[in-house]
Subunit: 312 residues, 2 copies
């Protein structure tokens, strides 16, 4: 059976206007859509402004776990993109919410061992979840003979750890992974902020949370984590808990079929828009193993500006 084909919008002002009119809310992925690393794609701020000027709600839904909502807000401001903390949902936030409000680990075994950056720590702290690991400088070193012995016999492990949360950690090392493995062996709940294989930066792809945290820990422990970023519906539930979305009039905009587009399709959103400035390339949705097919696509986000110039 032929797969449904997405509608190409770039350059078609009428189609873009019709597209925008179908939705009240736009969920935006960031990496690969809004920016790549610290490089904002051309005319993205104007595009977001156009969408806002049409009375649409904008929410940023990102799997990048390295930043908390506050840290994201700083980045938006620095890059000249108007936003509020309320509009930002990251997988670090989604994970903290899941741990504090759904998992609800009981003391004393309620600590989280973190593989990740300060964004995760900030969100856990905001939710009052105790944690160790993460950016703690005492973990940024080689293994010592004491480590080998103390991890093996458990004397260096914290008996209060009940959960391992793995995200993108630019300072991952053998010591942290060894601790995480032993906590998993002792029955800790295994969570992943997200399982993205890569993330776009500087116009290229770099190792993502799924490659740095999840894949190694899953392989060494034989366990599969519960992932809390896209395409996990836990993320959409968190967004919906805040905004009471009308899913039929909500559109997910992203650069990845297996996170963004799948997230929107599985969440029963009214639409999905793929942009080709990140991971997904033209025709990827036609492949046999394509995880999801978008409803629409544009070459780049600012192609939507044609609507503004024709109807404004």
């Amino acid at each position: 059976m032929a797969k449904p084909q997405p509608k190409y919008l770039s350059g078609d002002a009428a189609a873009i206007n019709e597209f925008l009119d179908r939705f009240d809310t736009f969920l935006f992925d960031c990496d690969g859509v809004i920016w790549s690393g610290d490089h904002v794609f051309e005319r993205v701020p104007e595009t977001l402004e156009l969408i806002r000027s049409r009375g649409k709600k904008i929410i940023f839904v990102t799997n990048n776990s390295t930043k908390s909502r506050e840290q994201y807000l700083s980045k938006f401001t620095k890059l000249g993109i108007p936003a509020t903390a309320d509009e930002i949902f990251g997988s670090a936030y989604s994970s903290a919410i899941y741990i504090s409000r759904i998992l609800r680990l009981q003391p004393p075994r309620n600590k989280v061992f973190v593989i990740g950056e300060s964004g995760i720590e900030n969100e856990l702290r905001a939710e009052g979840v105790p944690f160790i690991g993460g950016t703690d400088p005492s973990f940024l070193r080689d293994m010592t003979p004491q480590d080998w012995r103390g991890i093996a016999d458990g004397s260096l492990l914290d008996p209060d750890v009940g959960c391992v949360l793995a995200g993108l950690d630019m300072h991952v090392n053998y010591l942290k992974l060894s601790h995480a493995l032993h906590y998993l062996h002792r029955g800790a709940v295994f969570l992943a902020t997200n399982t993205d294989a890569t993330f776009p930066s500087n116009g290229s792809l770099f190792p993502g949370a799924g490659s740095i945290g999840t894949a190694p820990l899953a392989y060494m422990s034989g366990k599969t984590p519960l992932a809390l970023g896209k395409p996990s519906q836990a993320m959409l539930d968190a967004v919906e808990g805040r905004f009471r979305l009308d899913r039929a009039r909500t559109c997910m905009v992203g650069d990845r079929l297996n996170t963004d587009i799948q997230f929107g399709v599985e969440g029963g959103l009214g639409g999905t828009l793929a942009v080709l400035t990140g991971v997904c390339k033209l025709g990827d949705w036609e492949k046999e193993d394509a995880p999801a097919v978008p409803g629409f696509y544009v070459d780049k986000l600012s192609d939507l500006l044609v609507a503004g110039s024709s109807s404004g």
Copy 2:
């Protein structure tokens, strides 16, 4: 269909004597069989001595890639286990042999980017294979903005790299993994010394080569490496190339069903002996997804000494 059951030898002198008489050559895994880390299991030297005294050939076949044959020999000597360099086959050696004699990368694109320790480097050097990465201290640091840019645009990549070889690296970090990913994207051949999920040390399990090198790189690149350690038959071919084994009269001794025992079974060896001092536990071979079933098992290697005391 009921699986065949391995024969339990511990405490049965007659069965052990019959077992020893069936073979001329014994291939021994090391981690989890001979030792755990720097701890030699009880009475292992005497057991090896007994086997040698019966006129048997002993060969150590280990997936641990952190040591070269010479480094292994030092460890054997330090731990009081008689051995010669000729008797030792590690996955670092097996990988170097594969690269130099089978892969035969043509200059100028013949460099290997190494994720691993000095054992791999020593074996590559012995085979005259140029390499970068590995233990080079210039890779032991955080990513800088220059790294992000230079890896993304390729200006910091070595155009002569034609192969990525991933093994166990206790100093793995984001910088090394980012380099490796980009070499793979540029078409480098992807090899793994071995894909062990864990390795036994200090009476416990720690992250293995498969978890530290292979799993992350495979996940982020979408590519599957050719693995050169057990159960890859490339390892057995290398052993056979040196010794002209009679496979029917050769027995593989190991602690892992999915490396050692599978290696012996797939290689058509006359026998396989599982020891329970490492990863594999009693009855693991009865599980639905057991990768292989050993022909024999003992609780620990020195249980074979019963043969000596009864027949000597």
